[in-house]
Symmetry: C2
Subunit: 254 residues, 2 copies
């Protein structure tokens, strides 16, 4: 019965149920029935070519994007025409939620490589949240995470020297890749040096020089886009090597 069954086209189309990003994306922790509901709301597998925009600043905010593959850069353009990169996004991440309050996008999202996304109309998502408590919680959870990471980024730019920022950036990429089942020590940078510098609040030249330094110190090998980390702990050490260490007076007394 099962062997002579003609392939059912509907079983091929990717559903949330068998999407590899199950643990990272929206469906996290949903019941079988709920998944179906979500599945119906989603327009799946929209493809975005490298350099193509998912949305642009000031566009109406109507849909949330779940990144399935590839990578996306978000950035906003400042009054004077300068660009501020706000983040690089990897599969499993949700994009667009930060524009709920304004109803129009406050940043642009551009594909750094050919990528694919699932689209969910935000109003459908809000309706679903009414019916599915864990969905409501998940949305809050995701946004809370974004605030956390923004605070971390802030602290980094405000307090850490260039070296530590780049090291932390690399470690963060490494971590996210490993979370997604890829190597933690070997990967390709889909973003340019310029983008990295911008995100970290540095000049391109500084980023370039730091890559060279890290290489000279045997921490990593970097050849254009290709990165091979030799010493994760070493990079960690660079991260903590930031500004004025604690003036641990208490350790000397008593």
């Amino acid at each position: 019965m099962k062997d002579n069954k003609v392939v059912d086209i509907s079983s091929i189309r990717t559903t949330c149920q068998n999407c590899g990003l199950y643990q990272l994306c929206l469906p996290m922790g949903l019941e079988e029935g709920d998944l179906d509901k979500l599945d119906k709301a989603i327009k799946r597998q929209h493809k975005v070519e490298k350099g193509e925009h998912l949305y642009k600043m000031r566009d109406a905010f109507k849909t949330v994007y779940a990144l399935r593959s590839g990578s996306i850069k978000t950035y906003s353009t400042i009054e004077n025409g300068q660009e501020q990169v706000t983040g690089f996004h990897l599969p499993g991440e949700l994009l667009g939620l930060n524009s709920i309050s304004t109803k129009f996008h406050t940043e642009s999202a551009i594909a750094l490589e050919t990528s694919s996304v699932c689209e969910v109309p935000f109003d459908r998502l809000e309706e679903l949240s009414k019916e599915i408590p864990s969905m409501q919680h998940h949305l809050l959870h995701v946004m809370s995470e974004e605030i956390q990471s923004d605070h971390c980024q802030l602290m980094m730019i405000a307090k850490m020297p260039a070296e530590a920022r780049l090291a932390r950036f690399l470690l963060s990429l490494s971590y996210h890749f490993s979370q997604r089942g890829f190597s933690a020590t070997e990967f390709n940078l889909s973003m340019s040096r310029n983008d990295i510098a911008n995100l970290l609040g540095l000049a391109v030249e500084t980023v370039s020089r730091l890559f060279s330094h890290f290489q000279d110190n045997g921490l990593m090998t970097v050849e254009r886009k290709h990165v091979l980390i030799h010493d994760l702990d070493g990079l960690m050490a660079v991260t903590t090597k930031c500004a004025s260490q604690p003036l641990a007076d208490d350790s000397s007394s008593a």
Copy 2:
């Protein structure tokens, strides 16, 4: 009948209905009946003395705080003992939501002056959100706003020179005060120079010098905590006077 009625104690206790922060806080856009529900969930008017903590980093996250009066500083402590100020909060703001994902607070909140807050257990808030769609939306709205403002802060620290950062900080305070019905041009700073410097990623000395410069340029008068802005537009101008202006090539051609 109405004149000889003894004062009803329950009509005196502040309810969300007659709270002056109606437009800013949680109740925003709620129906009469819904307000009652919210009202029951809230523990009202908890007083916090200057220097007292509302919560500390790593405390369990259980309740959300709505600031009624006073001002609160949020900050987190980094590995090396340094402190990073993440924000100053004025009446009407909600505190704590950014720790939903971790379940423990990732920052500390301390009163900069004697303040009062309403407390709402977060699980009650989530339940209410199920029943009241506009409440659900409002929570997402508030978090989205926080992400926006964090991005703005990031851009500021990454791209703007010290002058522009302080100017923008003052304008932001001015705006928030005016939103709350206070003077946009005269107010008191409840935070120290140190805190301001920390938030803006600067040294105290720089903040102090900049205040002096602004004063010399007739933009404002600042005497310890007391601020009097003479020229809002002038401050705005300082804000935009940041780094490399647009290389508007297109205006010359065609």
